[in-house]
């Protein structure tokens, strides 16, 4: 007797692997009769287990066993046609023509129709999806020097923009935005790892099996209240049946900054430029001719240095990543153990991060109707960085402030200052910022979960999943006491840093715990052969709490004892805790008619502790439909389309990402005063609460088409989307006259965010050459609507304008003549002269141009969120050699840059080389930059204006990898199954007009440069 099913693949089991083991089980139990037998293999000849073998037009189904073998009783060996289907492979029909023992070869699916996609609380076959979903498989990540899982998505999926703003080891997570920015506050997606709410940083990239991005309402609505920004689902790798398999991969490499500021490093040139700026300001020279000539004549490099501080503090950094996985199992039970060790130095001297990770999971089927699994993921990460200003992130700024005349060390080995009169009272030696003190962070993350599934009657499944995410963090910052010494006289100059003046130590500790429990009940049924129904209902509860503690003390005797017990004075403590909870009910209904017409509905209701009782519950529905046109008879007899599907969705989602207690009025403690030197605790209202805040809601529409051509060699997927947010949760800007209180969070505004995305993929095998080309592009524009009160600043939130549009006076050029200055509008303060920036006069106090440049002339001049994001990938393999290239870019985006890097002598700092010879002078009137003036001069050139706004578009070769797989004939001799060696270059080339540092960082606003990483490594399986 055979177990028969018409449409096995309509069964939506929770995980691919469970599907597999379940099917093995049925085969071993029931396969008794044979009429036709056969073996199914892949194109390498390896047996395929779990392949569904059906008979066309009949309800007969068999499944291949672990050796790829199947047997099936059929009616007519001469005329019946077998239909073989398997996840990830092309469906194949085989006419038996009288044979009763056949071997069938299945080709891997070049498209991804058979792929099982992880969706909210379950899986679906890609063909059956009615929502907009992107998936990224592990092979996109393999062997790339990805140090944080968030980096993996860069350039790989349409609608997903990944911006890595910092390359600091241990702090190099990238920001992920799905379909641009639809809100004003937190716009990052919900991240779910193995079913639990988590973060991208909580998983070793090497352990990721797949990443699914839920982009529209249909796919994300099952996550309701937190899904408005999209959802990223990460599934970690799990064991497969078989003898223990060992996978080991290791890579070594070197990293360097994508770019560093190019600073004037010749001391005499610096002094002359400084004096020139003063001369342009009508001021006497600061560096006297005698100082300059003494410097010119000086020989001792310790006393007369020309230090290039960037090359002294920033340098190539080592990276080493190792991963070992052991997996295997029996029919009933499979396991995986994965261990990882990442050791990464930073490009700032002495920066380092180490990550140790361990992933353990187990699946077991304990009876016909019951299976369970557990999952443990542990990460321990350490980070060392500069104590100065609390992190290494600002080292670019600090090094810009170190002038070429600043010495390294004195002849006696002490930290040097300089004998030259300098502009800043504070001379800081950058070496002391990276070589002294202590700034150590330790983070531990643990995710543990378990689930079990019970199937009491066929088609009805009950799942219970519970888990916890625990994290803790420890920080230690020791501020040392360091003096710099005059390299000429040896006299003590000043203390490094502004203080605190004596040594101090801050120890901090925090932990957080999130417990999640959800349960789902699903039922799948096919009625009258043509109607497939799957229904799911569920309950979810989540509680989160965190505690933090911080202690501080001073009075250390030396720079080397850095424990709290070694301090003696002014101990201080602080600490607090917070919590939130969410409870949810949800349901989903799928209906398919003849596998052609697909309908899906989702509902979720969430209650959140962030809102008052009467505003607490939100209700989030979605509806979607799909039409698999390819299944229609009119497309049967053509060989152009191999897939054609139309789909559309509508839904409502929520966003609750605000502070925890915004609706509760509070009084703060700590507004103290000291009466007669006795500190007295005070209580004060410091914030305005808003009892009426409630969910931010997002209404999303999506229409998409999926096409496959030429046996899916070419696939095209395009979507149009339109999102309208309303009641966006945002802090309201209020004047300080309201008690100078922290403003309340309100449901402030709306945003419309719409665009389209397109992804194509083409793959072909030409002889032994296999290649694949993919391209994706997203065009998205957002517009603020219904804002309660416009939020005015350098970035504005105003009706009809892009989010955070740049709002400033517009520069129209550089004044060439005094006559031009005289007849033009200019700011009322400071003198404007030829060589200064010319601004556009658009208004005045009375709404008309008034000849004065001031705040009335501010206008929208740009936007910080790109309109275009795109990515492309190319991969090719020929015999054992494989090459892959990944490209990523953004366009139509601006970045406002200022500060040390862009303004000369900013608060006494250095000057970048682009100012040299490139400034306006009466004889260099076509110069790009205005006349050379100090940032602190009485000038209007450095007022916030579009002159300093830059085009931050860029195209970046994100990754190039070349690998060679050693032929099996050789590896078998050394008892290895698989050996691949590779070299990899990350961020090797960037194409941009952006002046200054990395354009990707500029968009994100950080100052720690991104890195170019060159690695080589080996992967071994045995």
């Amino acid at each position: 007797m055979l177990k028969t099913k018409k449409e096995t693949y309509m069964i939506k089991l929770r995980q691919t692997l469970i599907l597999l083991c379940f099917l093995f089980y049925t085969v071993t139990l029931y396969a008794q009769t044979q009429a036709v037998t056969g073996t199914v293999t892949d194109n390498t000849g390896a047996a395929l287990a779990g392949v569904t073998v059906g008979v066309k037009g009949k309800k007969l189904v068999a499944v291949t066993d672990a050796n790829g073998r199947f047997s099936i009783t059929i009616g007519n060996v001469a005329t019946d046609v077998l239909v073989l289907s398997y996840v990830g492979f092309q469906k194949r029909e085989v006419s038996l023509n009288g044979q009763n023992n056949i071997t069938v070869l299945l080709q891997p699916a070049t498209g991804n129709l058979g792929e099982v996609v992880v969706v909210g609380y379950g899986t679906q076959k890609r063909a059956d999806l009615t929502g907009a979903v992107s998936t990224i498989k592990a092979d996109v990540l393999n062997d790339r020097p990805i140090t944080d899982a968030s980096q993996a998505l860069s350039g790989t999926a349409s609608g997903v923009w990944v911006n890595q703003s910092s390359g600091q080891p241990g702090s190099d997570g990238a920001n992920i935005l799905i379909r641009g920015v639809g809100t004003l506050g937190n716009s990052y997606p919900l991240v779910i790892v193995d079913g639990l709410i988590s973060s991208m940083g909580s998983v070793n990239p090497s352990d990721i099996a797949s990443i699914t991005v839920l982009k529209d309402a249909a796919s994300a609505a099952i996550y309701g209240s937190r899904a408005a920004n999209g959802v990223v689902l990460i599934q970690t790798k799990r064991g497969k049946k078989g003898a223990p398999q060992f996978d080991f991969t290791t890579s070594f490499g070197s990293q360097k900054a994508t770019d560093l500021p190019h600073q004037v490093t010749n001391s005499v040139q610096y002094m002359n430029l400084y004096n020139q700026a003063l001369a342009n300001q009508g001021q006497p020279a600061f560096f006297t001719p005698s100082t300059i000539s003494k410097y010119q004549d000086g020989k001792d490099p310790l006393i007369y240095p020309n230090n290039d501080w960037f090359s002294l503090i920033f340098g190539p950094a080592y990276i080493n990543d190792n991963n070992l996985k052991i997996s295997g199992g029996t029919d009933a039970t499979q396991y995986m153990v994965s261990l990882g060790y990442l050791d990464q130095n930073g490009i700032v001297k002495n920066d380092n991060s180490k990550r140790y990770s361990a992933l353990v999971n187990l699946n077991s089927r304990i009876s016909k109707a019951v299976d369970f699994g557990i999952n443990m993921n542990l990460i321990h990460q350490t980070q060392n960085q500069s104590w100065y200003n609390g992190s290494s992130n600002g080292m670019i700024t600090e090094v810009m402030r170190a002038l070429p005349m600043y010495g390294t060390y004195t002849s006696t080995g002490q930290y040097a200052g300089t004998w030259v009169n300098v502009i800043n009272a504070q001379i800081n030696n950058p070496y002391s910022m990276v070589d002294e003190g202590l700034n150590r962070g330790i983070g531990n993350l643990m995710q543990g979960s378990g689930f079990f599934n019970v199937e009491p009657i066929k088609g009805l499944k009950w799942n219970v999943t519970g888990g916890l995410n625990y994290g803790d963090g420890q920080g230690e910052v020791f501020d040392p006491l360091i003096y710099v010494f005059n390299p000429l006289t040896g006299a003590q100059q000043n203390q490094v840093g502004n203080g605190p003046p004596s040594r101090s130590l801050t120890d901090s500790y925090s932990n957080n715990l999130r417990t999640t429990l959800y349960s789902t009940l699903s039922y799948t049924k096919t009625i009258a052969t043509d109607h497939s129904i799957t229904a799911l209902i569920g309950y979810n509860q989540e509680q989160y709490s965190q505690r933090s503690f911080q202690s501080y003390t001073e009075g250390f005797q030396t720079n080397s004892l850095t424990e709290l017990n070694a301090g003696s004075t002014n101990p201080q403590v602080a600490g607090t805790s917070s919590a939130y909870a969410i409870r949810s009910y949800f349901g989903r209904l799928n209906y398919a008619f003849k596998d052609k017409y697909l309908l899906e509905a989702n509902l979720r209701s969430d209650g959140s502790s962030r809102f008052a009782a009467n505003k607490r519950w939100g209700f989030f529905p979605s509806f979607s439909a799909g039409w698999r046109v390819i299944e229609e008879s009119f497309l049967k007899d053509q060989n152009i389309f191999s897939n054609l599907k139309l789909r559309a969705s509508w839904g409502r989602l929520g966003n609750d990402q605000i502070g925890l207690y915004g609706y509760i009025p509070t009084l703060s403690l700590g507004s103290l005063y000291d009466f007669n030197s006795q500190i007295t605790g005070g209580v004060a209202q410091t914030a305005l609460s808003n009892p009426n805040i409630t969910w931010e809601t997002s209404t999303k529409k999506d229409a998409g088409v999926e096409m496959g051509f030429f046996q899916n060699k070419l696939s095209v997927e395009a979507d149009y989307f339109d999102e309208q947010r309303s009641g966006i949760l945002q802090t309201l800007n209020i004047p300080w006259i309201i008690g100078n209180l922290t403003p309340p969070t309100v449901n402030l505004a709306g945003v419309n965010n719409r665009g389209w995305e397109l992804s194509t993929n083409y793959s072909q095998n030409i002889g032994k050459l296999k290649f694949n080309v993919g391209f994706n592009v997203t065009h998205v524009r957002n517009k603020v609507t219904n804002v309660l009160t416009p939020q005015i600043g350098t970035n504005v939130i105003e009706d009809g304008q892009p989010i955070n549009a740049f709002y400033m006076v517009k520069a129209t050029g550089i004044f060439q003549t005094q006559q031009e200055v005289d007849k033009s509008a200019k700011p009322a303060t400071n003198t404007t002269a030829p060589g200064d920036i010319k601004y556009q006069d658009i208004s005045g106090p009375n709404g008309k141009p008034d000849g004065v440049i001031d705040d009335n002339d501010r206008q929208i001049v740009g936007k910080p969120i790109p309109t275009w994001t795109y990515g492309a990938n190319l991969s090719a393999a020929y015999q054992g050699v494989d090459v892959s290239v990944l490209l990523q870019g953004v366009a139509d985006v601006q970045s406002y840059v200022g500060g040390n890097l862009y303004f000369p002598f900013f608060n006494g700092a250095g000057i970048t080389t682009n100012w040299v010879g490139n400034t306006w002078t009466p004889t260099n009137t076509t110069a790009a930059l205005p006349r050379l003036l100090q940032y602190n001069a009485a000038t209007n050139n450095y007022m916030t204006s579009s002159f300093w706004l830059q085009n931050a578009s860029y195209t970046r070769i994100k990754n190039i990898q070349v690998g060679y797989t050693i032929p099996q004939s050789i590896t078998e001799k050394i008892k290895l199954k698989y050996v691949r060696i590779y070299v990899n270059a990350q961020n090797p080339f960037t194409f941009t007009k952006f002046q200054g540092l990395d354009p990707e960082s500029a968009v994100g606003g950080s100052q720690y440069p991104n890195m170019k990483v060159f690695t080589g490594g080996i992967t071994v399986r045995f």
Binding site: V464, Q541, T666, F675, W736, I738, N740, P790, N936
Partner: protein
């Protein structure tokens, strides 16, 4: 195994998750109080009042010693500290930072006093203490508003607890705000004690503080008769014990805090919780001397104006003038206020470079309001300065009286006597001003006396504006003579039609939807 066991396990798990509990959402801040349960007891009232005092830091720490750099008395080299651009006439509605310190701090204090005054009525506590606390809050509200009208002119007058509806409140005419200030001060004076506080109440507002502030408000508004009367009411306030502290230098040393000259001050302490950084700002930038920054330095322009020790005006021909050092034999306050070439700084000779230029930027450093002296002195760290910032003191009462009385009546004996007291304490001998000065001559003498006596206390910027001498005083170049800035002319600009008031911070104009209008000229 039978599946039913798993049903039981599953149900148990779900029950364990607390799904039946209704209070899962019942979460509130664990380190903050709920207003609903506050304002019940006298300790609540006391803590709420302390919160009102707390904002004194905001309007003092980064402000008081810096105000003189807006005048020729002093110089600040660092634009990022938020004051230089004001002196240069370059301040805009976007800054520098110094402009917003007072605005934000004062409105924070006003919000808190308004909350206190709205709730104190419901607290069950001793009636006398309740009345005193109400008086303290009213004094503080008056002080905060006085700071606002003094620097910004018309300001929104808000007397109710903070509420979002205040966002579009326009500016109230200064006269109306002043009327409220005087009312608050009268209310406060009627309930506050005249006697000095003791123990941990030292530092609270007294009746004398309310009356002194009243005198100042009236004086700044040219209400001479009323101002003289208010000042006199302080001079005759029985039980107050007000007197000039015998040592001018000692008045500004931590050891002598809360002496009987101090009428109201901002109480700093040394742990960093409620401290200042004045020793750092004022301290000489030279590691061998202090961890200071030379952020605020007195100018030669100012130092030159000290009289001689006998009260005569300096000139090279003056018999007391020392041809080797023109700063010798001056008003003793000079060396109690200033470090100069030729004296020791913390036990070391005041630094002079090879070309003979002293110090850093101006050639002088402040001694007043630092712990540093000619003898070696232990250094004080950043954010660890704790000398109280004096807002109202008895010498000011005397000179306010003298000025108001001279304007209202003329230079009568009481005017002479008030000034004599101040000069006598300073050590000028003889302390008397020459007899027979005209009203106008006396006015000049009082102006001069105020400049010398209160330098570094932030009063001169307000004095020159109300005297209408700002157009001259704040509108000229000041020579810098320090080794880093030898010979540089620091050009100050002042437009009486504009710079008499600070610009309203742009933040307020933008976020009130233009309900708050800008001051003229900005």
């Amino acid at each position: 195994m039978k599946p039913y066991k798993y049903y039981i396990v599953g149900v148990l798990l779900i029950m364990m998750s607390g799904s039946c509990k209704k209070d899962v959402f019942n979460l509130s801040p664990t380190d903050k109080l709920s207003p609903a349960s506050f304002w019940k007891t006298s300790s609540d009232a006391s803590a709420g009042l302390t919160g009102c005092y707390s904002n004194l830091w905001d309007i003092t720490e980064e402000v008081l010693p810096y105000m003189d750099v807006l005048t020729p008395n002093a110089y600040s080299n660092y634009p990022w500290e938020g004051w230089q651009a004001i002196a240069w006439g370059n301040a805009t509605s976007n800054g520098p930072g110094g402009i917003t310190y007072i605005w934000q701090g004062a409105y924070s204090g006003i919000g808190r006093t308004n909350v206190f005054l709205a709730n104190i009525g419901n607290v069950s506590m001793d009636a006398t203490l309740k009345a005193r606390m109400t008086g303290e809050a009213k004094f503080l509200r008056a002080l905060y508003y006085f700071n606002l009208i003094n620097y910004y002119g018309d300001v929104p007058l808000i007397l109710t607890p903070p509420d979002i509806s205040q966002a579009k409140q326009p500016r109230t005419p200064v006269a109306q705000v002043r009327q409220q200030i005087l009312k608050d001060l009268d209310d406060a004076a009627s309930v506050l004690p005249a006697q000095p506080y003791t123990g941990s109440d030292i530092g609270r507002a007294t009746k004398g503080a309310a009356l002194t502030l009243k005198a100042k408000v009236l004086l700044y508004n040219g209400q001479w008769t009323d101002a003289a009367a208010a000042a006199q009411s302080v001079m005759t306030l029985s039980g107050s014990g007000y007197a000039l502290f015998p040592s001018y230098r000692g008045l500004f040393l931590p050891a002598n805090e809360n002496n009987n000259e101090v009428i109201f001050d901002v109480q700093f302490e040394s742990t960093g919780k409620y401290s200042s950084s004045w020793d750092t700002y004022l301290g000489l930038y030279n590691a061998s001397y202090t961890p200071g920054w030379s952020s605020i330095e007195p100018t030669q322009d100012f130092v030159d104006t000290y009289d001689m020790k006998d009260g005569s005006t300096y000139s090279a021909a003056n018999p007391l003038a020392d041809p080797t050092d023109k700063y010798n034999n001056r008003d003793p306050r000079l060396d109690q206020t200033i470090f100069r070439k030729g004296v020791n700084y913390n036990g070391l000779p005041y630094p002079v470079d090879s070309k003979g230029f002293a110090g850093i930027y101006t050639g002088f450093s402040f001694k007043k309001y630092t712990v540093y002296d000619n003898a070696p002195t232990p250094m004080v760290s950043y954010q660890k300065s704790y000398i109280n910032g004096i807002l109202l003191r008895y010498a000011d009462v005397l000179l306010m009286y003298a000025e108001a009385q001279n304007e209202a009546v003329g230079p009568d004996a009481s005017v002479y006597d008030a000034i004599r007291q101040v000069r006598q304490r300073a050590g000028i001998n003889p302390p008397n001003l020459p007899a027979g000065l005209s009203q106008s001559q006396m006015r000049d003498r009082i102006m001069h006396e105020r400049r010398i006596e209160f330098v570094g206390e932030g009063l001169y910027f307000s004095d020159v504006r109300r005297w209408k001498t700002a157009n001259v005083e704040l509108n000229r170049a000041v020579q810098l003579n320090g080794s880093y800035k030898a010979g540089v002319m620091d050009v100050r600009k002042y437009d009486p039609n504009k710079n008499n008031l600070f610009p309203i911070p742009q933040h307020e104009i933008d976020n009130s939807q233009n309900a708050i209008k800008q001051n003229p000229g900005y």
